[in-house]
Amino acid sequence: MLGVGFLLVAALVVWAIDPFDPFLVYQLSSVCYFAIGAAGLTVLTGLNGQLSLGHGALMGIGAYTTAVVLKAHTDLNPALVMGTATLVTAVASIIVGAAAARLRGPYLAGATLGLAVGLPGVAVRFSNIFGGDAGTSIPALVPPDALSSIAPEVWLTWIGLIPTVITFVLLANLVRTRYGRDFRAIREDEVASALNGIRVARTQVLAFVLSGACAGLAGSLLGYTSNLAAPGSFPLTLSLLLLAAVVIGGLGTLPGAVWGALVVVFVPSWISSLNDTVHLPSAVRDQLPLALFGAVFVVAMLAFPHGIQGGVVRLWQFRASRRRPGAQEQAADL
């Protein structure tokens, strides 16, 4: 059902694309990779309870893989390229995930923060492969001759929607399987999960690899969109933006990841367009979106002090319970 829904939405979006507005088209491609990355992070953070501040760096692995593969085989089918990027990032995620499975709370956050800050330096160090600070270019996707009437930007969005839909359909089905239940069980209570026969560490690594694979795919698409894999494209801010998309989406739901991606991509340009009426200094305008997302983090955490997963659900429970005298503590303890 969910998959069909996504397909319908996707088809609608494609129909609605105005091929003469290259900026909008570019933004839609951005929504695609943000949605894929946010969906992966939703599975990890929302469902499994592991926080990663390093998914921006994992997207970097995907983008650099794309660049390196295309440098060797310029005409390789994009599906194969994206598949390779996904696979390579998934393999890298096994290492990160194995470390992450032993870490909790702020330790995990700190370790993945190190990943976000440290990994771009590796690309600079091995500049003969990765092109140093300037990065490596990625050739633009060109539509096949039969469809040459389509602008390359529009074609990119078409292509971008395919992995997005596939990712969401696969993840939506996965969260309904035993693995999805295990992810959630571990988030709620690790000890109880272990007693129920769930292999906690292995399942946590699986969640990380799955989510890392999504980041790799997202990174590959980011590379195709920006035609570049460079250290500056994967700052800590990218990881935080992914997290912002997940938090805005309500943490833990896949449709939320799409909403989050839309907000993360369109709010900055909306603020730019706001400038036509309200004249903000350019420094303020450029930074306002980040400040807003930061404020969203703070407000969301203050609004849902008892856990962010399903915070909205709890808000409703709390409001319902306020009508019954004496039930307040009950809601507060949830």
């Binding site: 004496g326 039930a327 503590e329 009950q330 303890d333």
Partner: protein
């Protein structure tokens, strides 16, 4: 005089204390007895400001304590010894004791108060600069009571001081409480499962069950009411 009026506390919708009233006179020992889960600890924690009541009031003299923070209630002259003593294991014996006097900001009196506690519990003097972690169970309870005395309270709240201690140590603690009460004019609220020890030193007694008051008597009378003992205390 500490007055508790219709105090109700609930945890997660479950009532732990349901309309309990109690008066603690300015001198003497009041024992609160009852089986496990009767609400004894909740009562003492509510008086000390650690849990917020759902209904009812606690007042001391003419001041309303309900809604005050624990640190403000200590400043009213009410000290609590939590269950198990609550000594801070990472600090030394000396530091544990000093800590309770700090808010008075009176260095001269600090030294005096320390000497008094050391005289009262000589074993603590020998271990004064050791980590509290290294004390035996009985010594920990001495430290806990001594520490509560450091803030020079008028009313001492004791939560299960006999818990987990050998009978000999229990009777030592009980004797000390009795003496303190007589010599310093303290009033004491003593929450105990060990009803016999508590009644041996108490003046007044309150029997709680399932968060309600079952009986309120002179301690000497309660000690002889066999039906109540069988029904609520199991022996």
């Amino acid at each position: 005089m500490l007055e508790v009026e219709g105090l109700s506390v609930s945890y997660g919708g479950v009532a732990a204390l349901d309309g309990v009233s109690l008066r603690i006179p300015d001198h003497g020992i009041t024992a609160v007895l009852g089986p496990n889960g009767a609400g004894k600890s909740t009562l003492i924690r509510a008086i000390a400001g650690l849990v917020r009541p759902r209904a009812g009031t606690v007042s001391y003299g003419r001041r309303l304590l309900t809604g005050m923070s624990p640190e403000a209630i200590v400043r009213m002259g009410i000290s609590m010894v939590p269950e198990g003593g609550g000594i801070i294991r990472e600090l030394t014996v000396d530091e544990n004791l000093r800590l309770a006097h700090l808010w008075r900001r009176d260095r001269a009196d600090l030294r005096k108060a320390l000497d008094e506690v050391m005289a009262l519990f000589p074993p603590l003097a020998a271990r004064r600069h050791l980590p509290a972690n290294s004390l035996s169970g009985g010594e920990r309870q001495m430290l806990a009571v001594g520490r509560a005395l450091m803030s020079r309270p008028e009313l001492l709240l004791l939560d299960e001081p006999s818990l987990g201690l050998a009978p000999k140590v229990v009777s030592l603690i009980m004797r000390t409480i009795r003496d303190l009460c007589a010599k310093r004019g303290l009033s004491v609220l003593l929450v105990e499962q060990n009803a016999r020890s508590a009644l041996s030193i108490a003046d007044e007694a309150l029997l709680l069950s399932s968060g309600r008051t079952v009986a309120s008597r002179r301690a000497g009378e309660l000690a002889h009411e066999e039906e109540l003992w069988h029904a609520y205390l199991g022996y």
